[in-house]
Symmetry: C2
Subunit: 422 residues, 2 copies
């Protein structure tokens, strides 16, 4: 009997292997579903497995900084839960989620962002990722068109692909998704769902302008498609004025808002939510029953306690200050060291900066070379909605590394790139 539980899910031995693009599995004789046989593991998730090496400077993750976790406050909340309600969080619960957290969340996002319409309700999910998964499962049939930004979030891309949807890749610029491009495509394509991260897009770092948000919503009403607004970074704004979520314009139920406590409290708790029309909630709740009956209750109750007894807005402000310092330092490092042939976005919040090399350079090869030089970044191919095509691009994360790592890492990135670029 083997007791080996090591993480052999792709068999990659080095970070360079992860980026090589070649198929990493060995012999595989099982007949699995068509939907999953075309799937590759997320390179980003695989990269995590190499980050135990303390020598590696990671610009690769999408993690919040541990320095922002309100550990002592949560410990206090936890002690209270064990004192007052242990049987509640140990027993089965209701699929829609822990009722007080649903109320507290609706109340907060309604007050702060005006995104809860008259007919809207809320479904708690196992992280924002499950919100994406349930949306695709409930709304799309195999073969339906789903549009997303190019590049986009690998977790969403993989999930959309797993439902065998057709992708429409919509270009991204400094004002977010190119809505005019989308409008032209809508003349010939019946789109079922638009997946967008309008605020501090992953991996682009850019934010959709107010004008485009309004136009996108108008197109949704006109052409009767759903907008899945994935908004995990909304409160991670470091600079500039807030732009309201698309959901705040929604009067017709066309927008499903996917929120998360991962960035504002802690991601390991896996607490996200969907805000959507109550009529849709009925069907989403059935899909949620199939997926995992209900999300783990303890973290939902923990967050409810936290929201009740502590000032989350003050906590978020502290996190923003920490990220603002790192973002400023990262942009300064890139300004100082980056080869002028490389263009990069200048986000005002979120976690990511997107770097574009001159045409003809391979982002995948570059990230392999960077890994050999102790810096982990994620190649652009990872975020390609079509087929993991190699791209002359890569993503930098600034939420995780320390200021010293940012200084050292940007110097290495600059040096490697000067030699690498053709």
């Amino acid at each position: 009997m083997s007791q080996n539980a090591s993480n052999t899910s792709v068999g990659a031995k080095t970070l360079a292997d992860v980026f090589s693009g070649k198929k990493l599995e060995g012999k595989f004789d099982y007949k699995i579903s068509d939907r999953m046989s075309v799937m590759q593991p997320s390179a980003v998730r695989e990269i995590f497995k190499f980050l135990d090496n303390p020598e590696v400077i990671s610009f690769a993750g999408g993690n919040p900084s541990e320095d922002t976790f309100p550990m002592e406050e949560l410990a206090e909340c936890s002690a209270r839960l064990y004192k007052d309600h242990p049987a509640t969080f140990l027993q089965y619960g209701i699929t829609e989620g822990y009722a007080p957290l649903r109320e507290l969340t609706l109340d907060r996002v309604s007050r702060k962002f005006g995104i809860v319409g008259e007919n809207d309700s809320i479904l708690m999910t196992t992280g924002g990722q499950q919100g994406i998964d349930l949306t695709m499962k409930v709304l799309t049939n195999e073969g339906d068109w789903v549009a997303c930004e190019d590049p986009s979030f690998i977790g969403a891309i993989n999930d959309i692909r797993s439902y065998r949807n057709q992708f429409l890749s919509v270009p991204l610029d400094d004002d977010g998704m190119d809505v005019d491009f989308l409008e032209r495509e809508l003349e010939t394509k019946k789109i079922k769902v638009i997946y967008t991260i309008p605020t501090f897009q992953n991996p682009g770092g850019v934010t959709m302008s107010l004008e485009r948000r309004k136009k996108l919503y108008e197109l949704a009403v006109k052409h009767d498609f759903f907008i899945l607004e994935d908004d995990p970074y909304h409160e991670m704004r470091c600079f500039g004025e807030e732009i309201p979520p698309i959901k705040s314009f929604d009067k017709t139920g066309h927008v499903i808002y996917c929120g998360s406590y991962s960035k504002i409290i802690a991601p390991g708790l896996r607490v996200g939510y969907l805000i959507l029309d109550r009529a849709l909630l009925q069907k989403f709740a059935v899909a949620k029953q199939c997926a995992d009956v209900h999300s783990c209750l303890y973290p939902q109750m923990l967050i409810a306690e936290y929201l009740t007894h502590f000032d989350i807005d003050a906590h978020v402000d502290l996190s923003r200050k920490l990220y603002a310092e790192r973002l400023t330092r990262m942009l300064a490092g890139l300004d100082r060291h980056m080869d002028p042939r490389v263009k990069f976005t200048r986000p005002r919040g979120g976690f990511f900066i997107w770097c574009i090399l001159p045409e003809g350079n391979s982002g995948a090869q570059l990230c392999g070379v960077l890994a050999e030089n102790r810096v982990a970044c994620v190649p652009g191919s990872t975020f390609d909605p079509m087929q993991w095509r190699d791209k002359p691009a890569f993503r930098i994360n600034y939420s995780m590394p320390s200021l010293a790592q940012i200084d050292e890492g940007t110097e290495i990135v600059g040096r490697v790139l000067r030699e690498f670029i053709k």
Copy 2:
């Protein structure tokens, strides 16, 4: 802005409504996927919403008794986690699950049940339900045949249906799934997956004989289908000798074992697992990334602490004694009060007893009348793999009610049935 987060997912006002079988939703204009448009919410989950009324005696749930939760021990484990590892469970983790819990689980089930083959590994899931969901997603295409016992677990039935599989209903008798029936059907049908709960079946309460287990595995090898062995009740044996899991015979990777900590520790923690060939794990991990990135870390670490510092086998023995007492009392109550025209199974463990009325009686109507008489049971239609056809049957749970509730409830069930049966 409405802040209403009440649980309006089916709009049922009474338990009788839940059992009426009529469509409970109001106006619904959204175009959702074909896979979800045919779905109904689980009546069992809906019933939970009515159980707040302390007057109701619930024989309806599938919950473990709160009396079995090791609350003080878990509180101690939790305090240690907050002291030693808060950043670990608050940060993102690895998709396959918390490594020490994977090792501890493999070690325990290997030692106790011999179900970990040379090529096997483990994937931690958000409850056993997610194990079912991932299996269907990874292994089946729309239209593939999936076989299951009739009656079977509503959570599995709904999930299988959500992948638009075709159902083969295999009859159940006192020795479990009728494997001879299955063998005949295999002559003309290409089955992709067999879903079975061989031990203390839900809702049947029966256990598949050793002979049938071996034959089922032989058929899987011969006809090249997968067996999804759902085994949450395995350790809830009150009487009789243990029968080894089907997975213990597996030398070929045809059996995927779905286990859970829900019944042996606590269900609200949502910690389950799949034991499967390492080659399959690669694909399951990608599906898991799409579903929820990874399961909540805190409960995984909590259970790992518990397994390390406490004697889970001794704890399980205490739970079994508690359930044995309730099972004995329930069977005695039914023996005393039940109309002789009603047949019921005599389980030796698990949580459920299956009651069969004479043909021509409606289980759904009966459960409505029982609800009006303050006893909640679940009608047989809920467990029908085909189309929620009404059946002259209902399910009784004995893990949740107290001995006094069992005495009072069986008396009511007997009285109602004497008047009800045609």
